[in-house]
Amino acid sequence: MNTKVTIAGVTFDNPVMVASGTFGSGEEFSEFVDLNRLGAVVTKGVANIPWPGNPTPRIAEVYGGMLNAIGLQNPGIDVFVSRDIPFLKKYDTKIIVNVCGKSTEDYCEVVERLADQPVDMLEINISCPNVKEGGIAFGQDPKAVEAITREVKKHAKQPVIMKLSPNVTDITVMAKAAEAGGADALSLINTLTGMKIDVNKRTFAIANKTGGLSGPAVHPIAVRMVYQVANAVKLPIIGMGGIQNTEDALELILAGATAVSVGTANFANPMVTMEIVDGIEQYMQMHGVADINELIGAVK
């Protein structure tokens, strides 16, 4: 049975990854998860300098999901390179570094710093809804998506994944813009902007007022968008959005994703990624699927 998948020349032992921001750089979860068994670890977003993130409360639970507005708190590229990459290199898994910035120059600075580092791919976060500058501001305008993709590609040594926002009228427009800019792959979806109000305190549940909605509530949107993008561009897709179990992961693969990232479900069950890795193999056995690649985009 083959569970290996290849994206932009990088081969992953299996298609199960973790979604940026839900797994740190893997150290905290390594007590519960055998990182060697993950297709890849996608790190928390890293910027050129440390970012303190947003005021608290930063999260709120909602029915079937959660809102977060962490604000990309991260230690910056220096600490990341000296601490987090050496940690991840101890494991037999691929490393995808999520890159965030406030300007094109910020992104390019981080990408350049990573050029001689042993990381496998870069995921460019142009879709975080919780920061005032950068983030989603790049991801909602096709001209900006194309321009930043082109600039990042000029500086990048590793293949570039552009992470798309669902907070747009037509996600295929953004996907095509990233493709035109030279992206090697796409990941989608980031969170959907939402809001919760605490009726007893008569205030916003999170300090940032708005936050990104994730969890099973958004899963059908992710399936729809992966399907749309898979049919609009030739680029490989890493699908994510509300994956809770094997069935959810397979849905995204059948819709057109080459690999999948598990995010919020890590909070509900820290071992969920291991269960999905096993679950996909069981599904393949049960349904006589010799190669996982047969399933990618199999539902037309």
Binding site: E31, N74, P75, T264, A268
Partner: protein, 256 residues
């Protein structure tokens, strides 16, 4: 790295001990063996619409029977779900989490306010020194009082004045002219803020247990940070994680 475990705990017993306050004993496989006073556990909901674990402080640790005593308030649908659990039912839990209280052999105040009272009980049992226990309740609906009386001198403050000193825990300290060399406290932020100031004015070492909305409970998601005086070890800013570097902090170390 501190050992943490995800387990299916079994409910030994559960009873309501005050309005909205429940006392729950669970049997764990390993968590109780490793738990310390001031640590907490994450409890997961059975209802799939509620994704995030609820952080609940540890009230008592019974290492002999590998059991934990949890006393919690119904704050929403998740904790309401837990309150329905009966003897023999399973509860998905992870822990022990956080750092816990440091045990100092000095004349101590143990101060709990509201649902911050429970973690002070295991601390009281662990501390081998002169203990003055000051408990702040809203009114005469008190809980865990008999258990605390076995551990030291207990002073009570109630907001409505129905029992003990009318007012807050600091009013009780002043009314009884109490003094101490170290303070341990858990409770609402205004109480912790007042104690931080009191400790600074009187030059007393003060350890406080903080609370913040959490998602992962293990330091990965960065939801539960508090503002710290020193640069934190994770991000190199001034954000310490309540779930990991806390929940117990030296009061002077955090902004409240």
């Amino acid at each position: 790295m501190a050992e943490k475990f995800k387990e299916q705990a079994v409910v030994i017993s559960q009873e309501q001990i005050a309005p909205e306050i429940y006392s729950l004993w669970i049997k764990t496989d390993k968590i109780a063996q490793y738990a310390k006073a001031g640590q907490f556990i994450s409890i997961y909901c059975d209802d799939g619409s509620r994704l995030l674990p609820r952080p609940i402080s540890i009230c008592e640790i019974d290492k002999e029977d590998s059991a934990l005593h949890l006393v919690y308030r119904i704050a929403g649908k998740g904790t309401a779900e837990f309150s329905e659990k009966q003897t023999g039912d399973h509860l998905s839990v992870m822990g022990p989490l956080g750092n816990g209280f440091p045990l100092k052999g000095k004349k101590a105040f143990l101060i709990g306010g509201g649902i911050g009272i429970p973690p002070m009980l295991e601390l009281a049992k662990q501390l081998n020194c002169e203990k003055q226990i000051i408990l702040g309740y809203r009114n005469s609906d008190m809980f865990l009082l008999d258990e605390f009386k076995k551990q030291g001198e207990v002073y009570i403050a109630t907001e409505d004045g129905s029992v003990g000193t009318k007012g807050n825990v600091l009013d009780a300290i002043r009314e009884n002219a109490l003094d101490a060399e170290v303070i341990y406290a858990c409770g609402p932020t205004p109480m912790l803020r007042a104690l931080k100031n009191y400790a600074a004015e009187n030059n007393i070492e003060c350890w406080i247990s903080m609370e913040e909305k959490m998602a992962c409970g293990i330091g990965a998601c960065l939801a539960c940070v508090c503002k710290s005086k020193e640069v934190d070890g994770h991000t190199n800013v001034h954000n310490k994680r309540v779930c990991k570097e806390g929940p117990v902090f030296l009061a002077e170390e955090v902004e409240l």
